[in-house]
């Protein structure tokens, strides 16, 4: 009987280690820094995986490697984003353009944001759109900012992850 008790304990430990590993993977999404995989791989513990895999939802993903090239692209037209882009670890634009997929995306996002990991920063209401900003603070000054835009039949989520500040983003269009 002792053998089985020991076996059960060992299994519990393994399960716990597995859970801890998953938790570590989850937190590594926040702490990008040195631990991020340079080969553009991403762990499935990302809570946004469910949202990004939804039917009718399109995703634009820009990796750290690609963003890392941007500070050297000063010859591009328009406002130079090189400085901010260099501080980003990754960027996502998640959008749903049909009514049904927008509704599903909205529901999934609301559920995801209700777990308390993101804090609401600001809500900006326009004539035809509602924009919400959310912040998730990570370790080593890394953070994640979500901009969720809801229009009549469209939902768009822009997700920035990296060691930037709100001021960095604001400065891009601030009159000096």
């Amino acid at each position: 009987m002792k053998k089985y008790i020991l076996l059960m304990l060992a299994l519990m430990c393994i399960t716990n280690i597995n859970a801890e590993t998953k938790e570590a993977i989850k937190s590594s999404e926040i702490v990008f820094g040195e631990s991020i995989n340079e080969t553009n791989q991403k762990n499935s513990s990302d809570p946004f995986d469910i949202v990004m895999n939804m039917k009718g939802v399109s995703v634009v993903y820009i990796s750290k490697a690609m963003l890392g090239m941007m500070p050297n692209m000063g010859n591009m037209p328009g406002i130079n984003i090189g400085n901010v882009a260099g501080k980003l670890e990754s960027m996502y634009v998640i959008s749903a353009e049909s009514k049904s997929s927008a509704e599903s995306l909205n529901k999934a996002t609301t559920k995801l944001l209700s777990n308390g990991t993101y804090e609401t920063l600001m809500m900006v209401k326009d004539d035809d759109s509602l924009v919400n900003f959310y912040l998730k603070k990570g370790e080593k000054s890394n953070s994640e900012i979500l901009m969720v835009t809801k229009e009549s039949d469209e939902v768009t989520i822009i997700r920035f992850i990296g060691s930037f500040t709100l001021q960095d983003i604001q400065n891009l269009t601030k009159e000096k």
Binding site: M8, L11, N40, M66, M73, I158, I169, Q170
Partner: protein, 167 residues
């Protein structure tokens, strides 16, 4: 009486439908030495049953022997139960191992999924990033400007109130 009739009577006896007279009749029949060979087994059973009514000598230690036997059987039963628990624990542990391994492997499979850059051309990626960043910047500033407006109005109101109270 013919053999066939005896067989019918024997069947009736096994079914518990014979009368006492019929059973006596059967006893007499089986007690005689002249019976067919195929009824030998029935004969033995029948005679054994009827001999039970004779005086049987009860062994002296029968009660204590029986008690010991009951205790032994009870002990055996307990051991069997223990063995069953071990089996149950073993099966449960095996199921847990299989489930844990499956979950772990499934998890690993998902973890291996690659997320590939949408753009292979850095210029296209730059334009997309620029568009997203400027939109976010614009909306953030709009929000902060509105806060600033409210703040300015509050300051203005506070100053007016202060002036009024001063008078």
């Amino acid at each position: 009486m013919k053999n066939k009739d005896f067989q019918i009577l024997i069947k009736k006896f096994y079914d518990g439908e014979t009368s006492i007279q019929e059973e006596h009749f059967l006893y007499d029949y089986f007690a005689s030495s002249d019976i067919p060979h195929d009824l030998e087994k029935d004969r033995k059973i029948f005679l054994d049953l009827y001999r039970m009514n004779d005086d049987v000598v009860v062994p002296q230690n029968l009660e204590s022997d029986l008690n010991r036997l009951i205790d032994q059987l009870d002990e055996k039963d307990k051991k069997t139960k223990k063995i069953n628990w071990k089996w149950a624990a073993g099966i449960a542990a095996s199921i847990l191992i299989v489930v844990s391994c499956s979950l772990y492997l499934l998890g690993s499979k998902n973890n291996d999924r690659e997320l590939v850059d949408t753009y292979s051309d850095p210029r296209e990626a730059y334009i997309a990033a620029q568009k997203a960043l400027l939109l976010a910047s614009n909306k953030l500033n709009k929000g902060f400007d509105q806060f600033q407006d409210v703040q300015n109005n509050l300051d203005k109101t506070n100053k007016e109130l202060y002036k009024t109270f001063q008078k």
